[in-house]
Structures are given as structure tokens and as C-alpha cells.
């Protein structure tokens, strides 16, 4: 099993997300992440789905997605040149001044953004590929992560 990235263009209609998520649950496919949003055409949404599958299951996932009447296009971005981004918001424990300084330093050196400073916490935002997001989480873990929100991956093919 491995992660594959699918970029699926669907009609921006009521119930489409339910059709796609229903398909995954009914057929026992595993979603690692799913991100949906409008495209340049407001009638079309793009779903970026990271699927945990083997090659054979992936083939079925693509065919089943394609079979949905509201699906316009299924692109398999796995192994292609792509630009991938995910947004992370992470709230870290920062109740001591010494700790605060260290966390701010982590943010500075990694290029992550501090977006909220509370009395006892600091919230950091990071956008980047999976590698970057994971690296930041690892660096912050020792301080105590209180809450975390990830958008799931979005991706476009690269025209390099």
C-alpha cells in the first residue's frame, strides 16, 4: 500500500462530495486526505484526493470515480511533476518565556509564520509540501502540540 494523489474535476453541484465519499466507504477504499474547492470555472470543483491503495485498487478507484456522472476528469498525479501544498495550523504549548523564545526561533528558521500568540500558547501556520509540514510538526512536538489542523493536500501538475 502507498499514497497516490488524484486530482478530480467534478461538477460543482449539491451532493457531489457525498457521492465521492460514499463511493470510498461503500467500496472500502481508504482516503488519506481529501480537499475540495472551486476552480477557475465556478461550475467545476477540484477534489484532491490522497488514496492509500495498491496499484490494482488504485485502478478501481480511478474507474469508479470516473463512473460517477458528475465526474468530469480524473487525473492521476502520482509520479508526475507537480506542485503540492498543504496548510497546517498548529497550536503549541508556550507557557514559559524560555520555551516561547525557542518556538519563535523554530518558526524563524523554518520560515513558518506565527499567526497567534496567546498567554500560554503560540499558533503557527505553515504551507508547503508534505515534507515541510512533517518536518515542522517534528520540530514542535517536544514543546507539546495542543491542537493541530491540516487542510489535506492540494496539487496541480507542473508545467516545467
Amino acid at each position: 500500500m502507498a499514497n497516490f494523489i488524484l486530482s478530480v474535476l467534478v461538477e460543482n453541484k449539491f451532493g457531489v462530495l457525498a457521492r465521492v465519499s460514499g463511493l470510498f466507504s461503500a467500496r472500502g477504499f481508504n482516503i488519506t486526505s481529501l480537499a475540495v474547492g472551486e476552480t477557475e470555472d465556478p461550475e467545476i470543483s477540484r477534489m484532491t484526493i490522497v488514496v492509500d491503495a495498491d496499484e490494482r485498487i488504485l485502478e478501481q478507484v480511478k474507474k469508479q470515480l470516473h463512473k460517477l456522472i458528475d465526474t468530469i476528469k480524473v487525473l492521476d498525479l502520482t509520479g508526475k511533476e507537480t506542485v503540492e501544498r498543504e496548510l497546517l495550523l498548529v497550536k503549541v504549548n508556550a507557557d514559559k518565556t524560555s520555551v516561547r523564545e525557542k518556538i519563535i526561533k523554530v518558526a524563524d528558521t523554518t520560515g513558518a509564520k506565527i499567526v497567534d500568540i496567546g498567554k500560554k500558547t503560540i499558533t503557527i501556520e505553515e504551507a508547503g509540501d508534505e515534507h515541510r509540514i512533517k518536518a515542522l510538526i517534528e520540530l514542535l512536538k517536544p514543546y507539546g502540540i495542543i491542537e493541530m489542523a491540516r487542510t489535506g493536500k492540494v496539487a496541480l501538475s507542473s508545467d516545467k
Binding site: R56, E59, K63, Q64, H66
Partner: protein, 564 residues
């Protein structure tokens, strides 16, 4: 242009789609629609006694005629009662449009009286479905619904219409075309691939054609027969494929799979080329999948790409309409040299025929053979319920034409056969329509006897009454140490519960009871002679089993043959 109501728009759309009959049941959320249908002379509405009956009748109508079946129900319980019928049609790729009333738009989501999220409920059991939120999209939605239902791999489509949309007014303009950028089925196969099939056929030593319901759905029977005759390749059919190729043709191997013929299963297992057309490698066909057709190169012709390599790895896929692909294949194909193969098959046919005990006992196989013999000169359509009755019918009735065998394959829905027979009779008034039933299944939609009687639909019901949920009992006998847990319907004595003869009579239909083998022929003749619905209650050998049988999950090489 004048404005008409949403209900009238629905009716006019149905007329545009050439719908002549619809089956359904009224209720609060479809009163406007029913009222509009009432006013339309060109649309014959058949009131069933249960929404499930309406759905199966629409399905049976579609299977018998090839046209889209239409059923209509009210919101909430009316809509949920359609669910089994929709799922049945979905599993067998039957074109159907179900129209449901919905509570007023403003009440949706409020747990209003008789509200059910039928679009949500039927999402996984329809090809597609719609909630019409605005009258301006009503006609175009219906246009799309019929288009989706009948094209590509057909299937049921549900259109949910809130009662206020039925009452709203708008101009009626039925679109000429549909343009759905996400839905463009592939009909024409890839020529290079088709040429490769011809090559594979020419080089094969032990080829078999494995035919499914897709051949019937695409109307490819003629092309299939030509291909078989040109190449001399033997043909086996799935249960859904019965009738696609004449069962009495010397090239026919009959049905394959769990209750298939021994010679069909052996032929599959020893084949070097398996040509699947409009079939989907269902587990009831393949048995244990990693042992299925081990030496065969697998060709798969199907309109649904997701069917290809789903269960069995396919070596040579062609996506397209079965009829068009076979037609093109005919231009390339050459006869392979397979005399040895035919010798082998002949040997299997001689050594391992379908058989049952020929004694004085009233056995179901004999009833079906007799029924077949007595109806051979008629246009007969057989529907079935589910269980042993269905398998004996598949094995012992001989189907020669497509759309003469209507049976719930994928879902295996008890209660399907009788309402499906009603639908078939509505679509094919000239045909003799017979439901071969079990004593269990027939009770699941027996209420439709009123529909048959009042609409003068002379459907015949042949009950193979074994007093058991026989198919389940058979599994219990073979694999659960004869522990007949909750499968006994009667004690086998002379008191019947229900008494099917009296039951038929209470509806104003004819009832006949048969207990002896020597009464079978006269009873069937009598039933055929009656111009109205007839129920024949055949009290059969109680513990008769269906053989051959491949135990679930085993290789189809491992058939149990029983005692006979």
C-alpha cells in the same frame, strides 16, 4: 407560451420520452402528479398494491421490452418502499426512472411529516439521482434522467420532486439533447484490440464464450450467434445471460457457475481462451477467484470500464457496446482448429448431464421440463423468484430468445418475480408470462394479485411448494448439519398456511393444486387455457436439492453432484 404546473411538466416529459405505462402508488407528496397523470390519456398508470411491487413491475417491463421502466411513489415511506426494487434494477443494470414526491422545499431537512432523504438513501443504489429544487430545471432533469438510465451501462435513476415544485408553474420546453460533460459512454471498441481478439481466437485450442446480461442489454444476440457459428466456439451463459444464445443450440453449454452445468464449468476451467462479453465475473460465477480459468487468456468486452479487471485480471479488454464490438469482430474473425476441444466437451456433456431422479415423486425439475415442453410453441416469458425455484428454472427451462428470462441476478431479491411478471405482461400483452415461484418468495409480494386481477393481466404463477425456504435449507442440510434454523414454512401436512388455492380465489384468480406427477401436464394445460391470472400450487418433494453445486468460496472445479 402558456405556463403549466410542474406535475404537468413531468407528465409531458414522460410522453416526450415515449413512456406508455407507469407503475406506482399515491400519497400526499404526489397528489398533484397523480392528478396530472389522471388527465393524460396517453399514459396508462397501473396502481400496484405496494411500492415495491411498482418498482419490480417497472423493472420487469424494462427487462421484457428493453424500454425504460417508470415507477412513481410518494415521499417518505412510499419512497423507501421503492428501495429494494431500485437496488434490484441497479445490480442487474436495468433502465428505470423512479419519480418520488418530496416534502415542500422549505421543509426539507426539518424532519417534516413523511420526509425521507431518498436522494441520500438511494445514492449508492442508483446510477444517478436528482433532487429538483426549481421548476426551471424540471424538464431538463427528466431528460437527463432518461438519457442516463438507458445509455451506456443502463441503470435506475431517481428523480425526487418536492410537492411545491409540482405545483409551481412554468413554460414547458423539452430539451432536444443532453450535454453532460461528465457522462460520455464509449460505444465503439478499439479496432486494434478487436483485431487482437480475432488473432487470439484463431490461435486458440480451447476457447469458450462466456456471455452475460450485457449481451441482452445491448441487443447483441444476433451478432453473438453469428460469431459462435462462424468460429464454432462453445457458449456458456451467466444466469443474467440466459436467452442471449439459444439454450438448445449444439454449441450451448448452458449456465456456468455455482449451479451451472458440470460441462460448462469444466470447459471454463480447461479453456485456453475465455471471451467474456457483457459479463462481470461475479463471485457466483467464478467461485474461488484465484482458481478460476487458470490456463485461460481472458478477453473482456464490456461497456463499463470499471467491470474490467475488477475481480479477474483481464489480458485483452475492449471497452464498448457488445453489439458494435461483436459486429466489428465478425469482420476479422477466422475459425480456429478446435475439433479436439469439441470431442472433450461432448464427452463431458454425455458423462455429466443435468439430471434428477425419474420416479413417481413430484419433483420440481419435471414440472419445469413439462412447462417448457407445453409452452414451446408460444411466446413465453419466464420470471422467477429467488432460491431453488430460480435455479431449477435456469437449469431446466430452455431459453431461446433474449428477454424471455427475467430474474433477479445480482441482488437475488425474493418477491421480484410476480410483480416483474405483471410489468412484463403490461409491456408484452401478446406473451404468456409465467412466474416460477417458491412458497416463501411468493408471499413477499402476493398483494399484487389484486393488481393482476383488476388490470386483467393473465399472469400464471407456478409455485414450487416445498414448505421450506428451500435454498437456505439446502445449505443447512449440506453445511450446517441439517439444522433447519428458521427455514421451515410448513409441516408438510395437509393443512396449508396459507392455502394458495383459496388465496388466489379470494382475489378472484384461479387456483389449482397439484400433488401428483401425473397431474402436472393437465394442470399446466388448464392454467394456460384460463384467460386470467392463475396460481398453481405444486406440492413438491420437500427436500429436493439443486445440483450441481459449487460450495461458496470453492473452485468451480469442485462440484457436488448429489445422489441422482
Amino acid at each position: 407560451m402558456t405556463k403549466i404546473s410542474g406535475a404537468e411538466i413531468i407528465v409531458k416529459s414522460l410522453i416526450e420520452e415515449n413512456v406508455k405505462h407507469a407503475f406506482g402508488y399515491p400519497g400526499g407528496a404526489v397528489i398533484p402528479l397523480m392528478d396530472a397523470i389522471y388527465a393524460e390519456k396517453k399514459l396508462n398508470f397501473i396502481l400496484t398494491r405496494h411500492e415495491q411491487g411498482a418498482a419490480h413491475a417497472a423493472d420487469g417491463y424494462a427487462r421484457a421490452t428493453g424500454e425504460v421502466g417508470v415507477c412513481i411513489a410518494t415521499s417518505g415511506p412510499g419512497a423507501t418502499n421503492l428501495v429494494t426494487g431500485i437496488a434490484t434494477a441497479n445490480m442487474d443494470s436495468i433502465p428505470m426512472v423512479a419519480i418520488t414526491g418530496q416534502v415542500k422545499s422549505v421543509l426539507i431537512g426539518n424532519d417534516a411529516f413523511q420526509e425521507a432523504d431518498i436522494v441520500g438513501i438511494t445514492r449508492p443504489i442508483t446510477k444517478h439521482n436528482y433532487l429538483v429544487k426549481n421548476i426551471s430545471t424540471l424538464a431538463s432533469t427528466l431528460k437527463e434522467a432518461f438519457h442516463v438510465a438507458r445509455t451506456g451501462r443502463p441503470g435506475p435513476v431517481l428523480v425526487d420532486v418536492p410537492v411545491d415544485v409540482q405545483l409551481a408553474k412554468d413554460e414547458f420546453k423539452y430539451p432536444k439533447d443532453v450535454n453532460m460533460r461528465g457522462y460520455k459512454p464509449t460505444y465503439v471498441g478499439h479496432s486494434k484490440q478487436i483485431e487482437k481478439i480475432a488473432q487470439a481466437i484463431e490461435n486458440s485450442k480451447r476457447p469458450v464464450l462466456y456471455i452475460g446480461g450485457g449481451v441482452i442489454l445491448s441487443g447483441a444476440s444476433k451478432e453473438l450467434a453469428k460469431l459462435a457459428r462462424m468460429t464454432d466456439i462453445p457458449v456458456t451463459m451467466t444466469m443474467m445471460g440466459l436467452g442471449a444464445f439459444p439454450g438448445d443450440d449444439p454449441l450451448s453449454l448452458g449456465m456456468l457457475g455455482m449451479h451451472g452445468t458440470a460441462y460448462a464449468n469444466h470447459a471454463i476451467q480447461e479453456s485456453d481462451l475465455l471471451i467474456a462479453v457483457g459479463a462481470r465475473f461475479d463471485d457466483r460465477v467464478t467461485g474461488r477467484v484465484d482458481t478460476f480459468a487458470p490456463d485461460a487468456k481472458v478477453v473482456h468486452i464490456d461497456i463499463d470500464p470499471s467491470s474490467v479487471s475488477k475481480n479477474v485480471r483481464v489480458d485483452l479488454p475492449v471497452i464498448g457496446d457488445a453489439r458494435l464490438v461483436l459486429k466489428e469482430l465478425l469482420t476479422f474473425v477466422k475459425k480456429p482448429d478446435i475439433a479436439e476441444w469439441h470431442k472433450k466437451i461432448k464427452k463431458w456433456k454425455n458423462e455429466l448431464p443435468l439430471k434428477y431422479k425419474d420416479d413417481d415423486v413430484l419433483r420440481p425439475q419435471f414440472i419445469i421440463e413439462t412447462l417448457e415442453r407445453l409452452t414451446r410453441d408460444k411466446n413465453v416469458i419466464i420470471t422467477t423468484e429467488v432460491g431453488q425455484n430460480q435455479m431449477w428454472s435456469a437449469q431446466y427451462f430452455c431459453f431461446r430468445e433474449p428477454r424471455t428470462w427475467l430474474s433477479s441476478g445480482g441482488l437475488g431479491t425474493m418477491g421480484f418475480g410476480f410483480p416483474a411478471a405483471i410489468g412484463a405482461q403490461v409491456g408484452k400483452p401478446e406473451c404468456l408470462v409465467i412466474d416460477i415461484a417458491g412458497d416463501g418468495s411468493i408471499q413477499m409480494n402476493i398483494q399484487e394479485m389484486a393488481t393482476a386481477v383488476l388490470n386483467k393481466l393473465p399472469v400464471k404463477i407456478v409455485i414450487l411448494n416445498n414448505g421450506y425456504l428451500g435454498m437456505v435449507r439446502q445449505w443447512q442440510e449440506l453445511f450446517y448439519d441439517r439444522r433447519y434454523a428458521f427455514t421451515t414454512l410448513s409441516d408438510g401436512g395437509d393443512s396449508y398456511c396459507p392455502d394458495f388455492v383459496k388465496l388466489a380465489e379470494s382475489y378472484g384468480a384461479a387456483g389449482i393444486r397439484v400433488k401428483r406427477k401425473d397431474e402436472v401436464e393437465s394442470a399446466i394445460k388448464k392454467a394456460i387455457g384460463i384467460d386470467g391470472p392463475v396460481m398453481i400450487d405444486f406440492i413438491i418433494q420437500r427436500e429436493e436439492n439443486v445440483f450441481p453445486m459449487v460450495p461458496a468460496g470453492e473452485s468451480i472445479s469442485n462440484m457436488l453432484h448429489g445422489l441422482a
